[in-house]
């Protein structure tokens, strides 16, 4: 490992920037999905179709609040790794992961039920609804895998490489949580 002879300025690592660009493209994907929902909404007199029950309010709202709250431990983990505080970062990740896993399991359970209640083969509304929810849950799954990976990786040792990974993962979670709020807004919109 070379020691740098030039004066060095602190900056975000390339790995963090990679995550920023990845989040940009995923956010655009969700923009497209939500845009499709809104576009089709204006092509239909009844949205959702009249015979369908309105989507649930309470459970998704509470779950989303819980998921968004994990941004706090993720932020703590991100700060801690940059200060070299491995144990603190590890506990923050474990706390976040526990909530994220509960969220995902609960949501997947409800999702399977939702496909029954709102069969996508029945209407365009149900098709978009099921697609948006599925895409959101898939992104939560990716986040759960990333958090799990770093819980395993920094259990014993923290390096600069892993620290950048934790920071990028934290950034990913902030983005996924924001996207989940947007998806919740879509879910609640028929009640307005």
């Amino acid at each position: 490992m070379t020691t740098v002879t030039l004066p060095v300025r602190h900056a975000h690592a390339k790995g963090w920037w990679g995550m920023v660009v990845f989040v940009a493209t995923e956010a655009t994907l969700f923009g497209t999905l939500v845009g499709t929902y809104v576009y089709l909404r204006f092509q239909n007199a009844h949205w959702p179709p009249e015979q369908l029950p309105l989507p649930p309010v309470l459970t998704p709202t509470m779950l989303t609040v819980a998921l968004v709250a994990t941004s706090v431990p993720m932020h703590v983990a991100s700060r801690s790794v940059s200060e070299g505080r491995r144990v603190r970062a590890w506990w923050a990740l474990v706390v976040a992961l526990a909530v994220q896993v509960v969220y995902l399991v609960w949501q997947v359970h409800d999702y399977v039920h939702a496909i029954d209640v709102y069969p996508p083969s029945g209407s365009a509304w149900a098709s978009v609804y099921v697609t948006i929810l599925g895409a959101d849950h898939a992104h939560v799954l990716v986040g759960v895998l990333l958090t799990t990976w770093f819980v395993l990786r920094i259990r014993t040792r923290l390096t600069r490489y892993r620290a950048v990974g934790v920071q990028a993962t934290a950034f990913y979670w902030h983005a996924v949580n924001t996207i989940t709020i947007a998806v919740l807004a879509v879910q609640l919109s028929p009640h307005l």
Partner: protein, 636 residues
């Protein structure tokens, strides 16, 4: 850097040689993470696809040479036409510009030792190859995509298109958008983070600005196409409703999403061509680019405006006239940044002392074709004219002048221009100029008469036509032109192969180019630069004191980084060094991950969803294996 080296320099270079040594043989190519080797893999693969797309075009032109020709039937013609478009756009021009030229040249131009994420770079190539094989395997069962390259619904829905044709299209494009997104992400972060010390934005080569603009467009445009294709597959395979009115869908949704991707795509195709032009012109005009910052801004602006003009592809679909007028106005706006660049190119040639060698001749052809294609483009921004000529050969003429004349000509010029750098050998100038005149004449003969037959009423996508409509002579000329063009392209291939075998040494810098790739040896060493150069202007190779300073730095060991497999990271705006990044060694995981994804896509095609899921789990495991290799660092 062939200096008569006293020992410290020699030792440092030997260290670098040892640290960056490549695994030999086939295994070396399969596991490589070197941006130059990946660039070459992209180059040869895209040329194969270019040849395939070219054969498809020639078959169509032969079928259309005379009235009521019977070479191919309508179903085959539809497949040829669709695959020609899909191949040229997704498997030739995007990967040869961003994948081959971008990959090979961007790190060399910004003074880095590799791309920001070398393994991701390999993954993007292997995914691209998998997607291409996936798409082309459709020919084996005679079910190639057949609904046109923009695959409009309802024709693409299962009721009207029951085979696997459209499934190959939709899944293949989802697949290739993943590869292209990864490649674009890598280029963006490379340009942001790995620029040599001193290369602030105002000193970055215009080629890199063009690549940055194209990559940003890819990152923000591809999701619309991905989503559109996912919707289509969900509707075709699982009975979802997005595009059929009976259940609350809307067929125009396909077109909106497709063109939200599709128009930025035009600039994704043509921006790298602008970048190549702004590399070749200053070299052969012996003059810095005129209006450098304006051209840089214009490149980014073209990409940006490209996102606001999509509905000009939909003037004939019955949108409200308010909408149409907005999009017509936005479309005319694109003229401004395009014209800035055309004037800057022409003025640079004008006030420089141009030497018309083959690369510059191709750029000359490019400017002419770009102006012709641009002029017919402005005509389409006039809504009534568009409605009168939509779906005629006039449109075909227009976009071939843009995407063949304007996008491919600089690529051909670029092949000659950088051939000496990549191989260390000189091409045959006389053959190269002959190949220019052949391709130039071929392009004009093939595509110009299409304007006329279009105005005479010949519609696109017909597989044959009756005689006596006044179209026959033009069609015959077009077909002859097609074969002239093919001869010119084959001559370029011949020239490359022959020049490689004749082995006339080109030296480090045969054209006196201005950018950093010309400061290193031809071909560049695995580590690109013995000393990471320090940059004080946009044309660092013309700054002789700086390059002499590099040699002294090698003696001092300053910015050589010969203690590890490393490249410097820098700050985003002013390219001040911020860290030293250890670069990964060769890795088998990218190709293994891409293989699992390829198998999974074939399983999705054949509706084995559970097994496909199992293969995606394998992809995740491959990613874990990939990340298990980490740089060696002290415990923090």
């Amino acid at each position: 850097m062939a200096v008569v080296a006293p020992s410290p320099e020699r030792t440092r270079i030997e260290n670098l040689e040892r640290l960056w040594a490549a695994r030999p043989g086939l295994l070396g190519w399969l596991t490589t993470v070197d941006h130059k080797k990946i660039g070459l893999l992209y180059f040869w693969t895209t040329l194969v696809f270019f040849a395939a797309g070219g054969v498809e075009a020639l078959l169509m032109r032969t079928q259309l040479a005379t009235a009521n020709e019977r070479l191919v039937g309508p179903e085959t013609f539809d497949q040829l036409m669709t695959m020609h478009g899909v191949t040229m756009i997704f498997f030739f021009i995007i990967p040869i510009t961003t994948g081959a030229f971008g990959n090979y040249l961007v790190p060399l131009m910004i003074g880095a030792r590799d791309m920001a994420f070398p393994r991701l770079n390999a993954l993007s190539y292997w995914l691209f190859l998998g997607a291409g094989m996936f798409m082309y395997s459709s020919f084996l069962i005679h079910q190639a995509p057949n609904a046109g390259w923009f695959d409009y619904v309802p024709l693409a829905l299962r009721q009207y298109n029951g085979g696997l044709n459209v499934d190959f299209y939709a899944l293949g494009l989802i697949f290739t958008t993943v590869a292209a997104t990864i490649g674009a992400l890598n280029l963006i972060v490379t340009i942001f983070k790995l620029r040599a010390p001193g290369m602030s934005w105002n000193r970055m080569p215009l080629f890199c600005f063009a690549m940055l603009a194209a990559s940003l467009s890819l990152v923000f445009a591809l999701p619309a196409l991905t989503a559109d294709c996912i919707f289509l597959e969900l509707q075709r395979k699982l009975g979802f409703h997005f595009f059929d009115q009976a259940h609350g869908g809307d067929p125009l949704l396909w077109q909106h999403l497709f063109w939200i991707f599709g128009h930025p795509e035009v600039y994704i195709i043509v921006l790298p061509a602008f970048g190549i032009a702004t590399s070749i012109i200053p070299t052969f005009a012996r003059h810095k680019m005129v209006a450098f910052p304006l051209v840089a801004m214009a490149e980014l602006l073209v990409a940006f405006i490209g996102f606001g003009v999509w509905a000009h592809h939909m003037f004939a679909t019955g949108l409200t006239s308010t909408t149409l007028v907005f999009f017509a106005a936005a479309s005319m706006m694109v003229v401004i940044p395009s014209t800035i660049q055309i004037y800057a190119w022409l003025m640079t040639v004008n006030i420089g002392t141009p030497e018309f060698r083959a690369p510059l001749m191709f750029i000359g052809g490019f400017i002419l074709f770009f102006v012709i294609g641009g002029l017919s483009g402005i005509m389409f921004a006039a809504i009534p004219f568009d409605q009168a000529t939509t779906d005629t050969y006039f449109v075909v003429a227009h976009f071939h002048f843009i995407i063949f004349g304007a996008a491919v000509f600089p690529v051909l010029g670029g092949i000659y221009y950088w051939f000496p750098k990549v191989t260390g050998r000189m091409y045959d100038e006389r053959l190269a100029q002959l190949s220019f005149w052949l391709t130039f004449a071929g392009t004009t003969l093939t595509f110009f008469p299409m304007h006329i037959v279009g105005l005479l009423g010949m519609t696109r996508r017909i597989y044959t036509y009756d005689g006596g409509l006044g179209w026959d002579a033009y069609n015959l000329i077009e077909t002859i032109g097609g074969y002239v063009l093919a001869t010119g392209l084959l001559l370029i291939a011949f020239n490359i192969v022959r020049s490689y075998r004749r082995n006339v040494p080109a030296g480090r810098d045969p054209f006196r180019g201005g950018t950093l790739e010309w400061t290193t040896t031809s071909p560049p060493p695995h580590y690109n630069f013995a000393v990471i150069p320090t940059v004080t202007s946009p044309y660092p190779n013309w700054d002789e004191p700086d390059r002499e300073e590099d040699l002294r730095k090698l003696a001092r060991g300053d910015l050589v980084l010969d203690q590890g497999h490393e490249t410097p990271e820098s700050t985003v705006n002013d390219a001040w060094p911020s860290a030293v990044a250890e670069m990964p060694p060769e890795s088998p995981w990218p190709i293994l991950a891409a293989a699992t994804v390829t198998v999974a896509f074939f399983l999705l095609l054949t509706q084995h969803y559970a097994t496909a899921g199992a293969f995606f789990v394998l992809t995740v495991l491959a990613a874990a294996g990939w990340n298990a290799h980490e740089p060696e660092e002290a415990t923090g």
